[in-house]
């Protein structure tokens, strides 16, 4: 499979402040790729560099085999982007915003837009200033999907959407991906990554600390241990020989003991903080 996104040694700073340092990653065609990290980890900087909003000092980004700087406009024709803040021109009607996005691409997307608006239950007659965050997010989804792009880039897409709409949104992604699209999903919501993504990358302080299949990220020797012994409750990640753990616990008066596979949330905390582990 070809690389739809290829980032090599990307470095972006904001004056003396860190943005992203020496980031390299590749996203394969047809996959849903999760991009995880806490606030300030460099996720948005990476996305904004990919889309040409930021000028980066070092490195190279190729999207759909094209150079992100030299062939910027050509790349954007094939990309559907949904920013974390779904903000549009307040006085415009929803239908006008959707049409403007299609016109700027030189495409007639009315059929696809109508389908998306119906699935998302979006009232196109309202003005943007009358919409809630959730409804603005829906407008953003339509604008990102109506031209059936080869690559979706989503930055915190589900925030503001109710659970039903989140479900519809991810169904739509799966449908487009089944037809050959690729999805780059930056999110805080780890359950979305574990449920929908094939692979994920974890960012910390501007650096990529881990990239792997989602299954592999949760499969490791690390275990979550929940123990109630001698009247005290402990909950921690254990990385080591299970026999040693049992020996250690044998001397205690156990009321309850759970040794489980860690969740993606656990692994994220493990990679991010590394202080909960015993």
């Amino acid at each position: 499979m070809t690389d739809v996104i290829r980032i090599d040694n990307l470095t972006k700073t904001y004056g003396k402040k860190r943005g992203v340092t020496d980031l390299s990653l590749a996203v394969k065609e047809g996959e849903i790729f999760g991009f995880i990290g806490p606030n300030g980890a460099g996720k948005s900087t990476t996305i904004r560099s990919m889309l040409g909003f930021l000028n980066f000092e070092k490195g190279k980004i190729e999207i759909l085999g094209k150079d992100s700087v030299k062939e910027h406009t050509s790349i954007l024709k094939e990309v559907g982007y949904m920013p974390s803040e779904a903000l549009f021109y307040p006085a415009m009607k929803v239908s006008e915003v959707i049409k403007f996005a299609a016109d700027a691409r030189g495409l007639d997307c009315r059929e696809e837009a109508a389908m998306l608006c119906e699935r998302l239950n979006l009232d196109t007659g309202k003005r943007i200033k009358e919409l809630s965050l959730g409804n603005r997010k829906k407008v953003s989804i339509v604008c990102a999907m109506q031209h059936k792009p080869k690559l979706f880039i989503f930055d915190e897409p589900s925030s503001g959407l109710d659970p039903l709409m989140q479900n519809t949104f991810f169904e739509l992604i799966k449908e487009y991906v089944a037809k050959g699209a690729t999805c780059f999903l930056s999110t805080h919501v780890l359950s979305e990554v574990s449920r929908y993504c094939d692979r994920a990358a974890i960012m910390r302080e501007g650096r990529l600390i881990k990239v792997d299949k989602v299954d592999n990220l949760t499969e490791s020797t690390t275990k979550r241990v929940k123990v109630t012994a001698d009247g005290a409750h402990e909950d921690y990640l254990y990385n080591g020989d299970v026999n040693e753990l049992i020996k250690k616990l044998a001397g205690k008066n156990l009321q309850n003991l759970y040794i489980e596979e860690p969740s993606l949330e656990d692994m994220f905390m493990h990679f991010y903080e590394g202080k909960e582990e015993k």
Partner: protein, 263 residues
């Protein structure tokens, strides 16, 4: 690019109507007031033309306000000059920065629109707005002459409007730099810029030592009294104005293309 330009024109349509009708109708009312003030004007014209620097500043030393042409140049000339300069400055000072200020930049620039293309489209929309403003105001002024049954001074009015348009373009181009460099709307800075240019011209005409430097300001070649009295624009002022436009627009392009867009 055409889509972005049309979009910009749509967004600024109300502003254009409000400003052009306000300035144009004010000018029309001034023209229509001429007949009711004509008798008094004849008596006042001599006094107004002998007020030294004040008369020079408002062009009343070279032109009699007792004539419709003179009255138009001194009254409408000032109203149109200030009003159009403020409109041009307001429009251009926010045309680029409003995308970042309103957080719409991520939407606009995620569409296949290059930043250079967007700047071109936005500059074009400002220019079209300024031309439309001039046409609407000009039509109202001509209507005033027709309503009074006076001969329309086509040559003078067209020269006046053409020079005013060039002055507006020059002020807009300087304000465009402010817009390109800022991620917040700098409406106040734009208005301030227009007023500074106006004040520079006014002071330059009052203070004898500064007269030699008048040509630097954009109001120098758009002085209605000089146009209506057949005087040529200060030497080099129009050429300098065109150079300022070219350099300012080029600077705005460079600044905007190199900057990181705020989210």
């Amino acid at each position: 690019m055409i889509t972005v330009c049309k979009h910009e024109l749509k967004l600024s349509f109300k502003t254009l109507l409000i400003w052009s009708l306000s300035v144009g109708l004010l000018g029309l009312v001034c023209i229509l007031l001429y007949t009711s003030m004509e008798g008094d004007m004849a008596d006042m014209a001599d006094m107004f033309s002998n007020m030294g620097a004040f008369s020079d500043a408002f062009g009343m030393s070279t032109l009699s306000i007792a004539t419709l042409g003179g009255f138009f140049a001194t009254e409408v000339g000032t109203v149109h000059g200030l009003g159009s300069a403020m409109f041009a400055a307001i429009l251009a000072a926010v045309v680029l920065s409003k995308e970042e200020d309103g957080h719409t930049g991520e939407f606009l620039y995620s569409l296949p629109v290059s930043r250079g293309g967007a700047v071109t489209a936005k500059c074009l929309s400002v220019l079209i707005n300024l031309v439309a403003f001039t046409v609407i105001c000009g039509a109202l002024y001509v209507l005033g002459f027709v309503m009074l049954g006076e001969e329309v001074l086509w040559k003078e009015i067209l020269t006046f409007l053409g020079r005013m348009l060039l002055m507006n373009v020059e002020i807009a181009s300087v304000a465009l730099i402010i817009s390109a460099a800022s991620s917040r709307n700098r409406l106040g800075a734009g208005l301030g810029l227009a007023l500074i240019f106006y004040a520079y011209d006014l002071i330059g005409r009052v203070v004898p030592d500064l007269k030699g430097y008048l040509f630097i300001g954009p109001f120098s070649f758009a002085n209605a009294s000089e146009i209506f009295s057949g005087k040529a624009a200060p030497t080099g002022s129009i050429v300098l104005g065109l150079i300022v436009v070219a350099v300012s627009v080029a600077s705005a392009y460079i600044i905007y293309l190199k900057k990181d867009l705020a989210s």
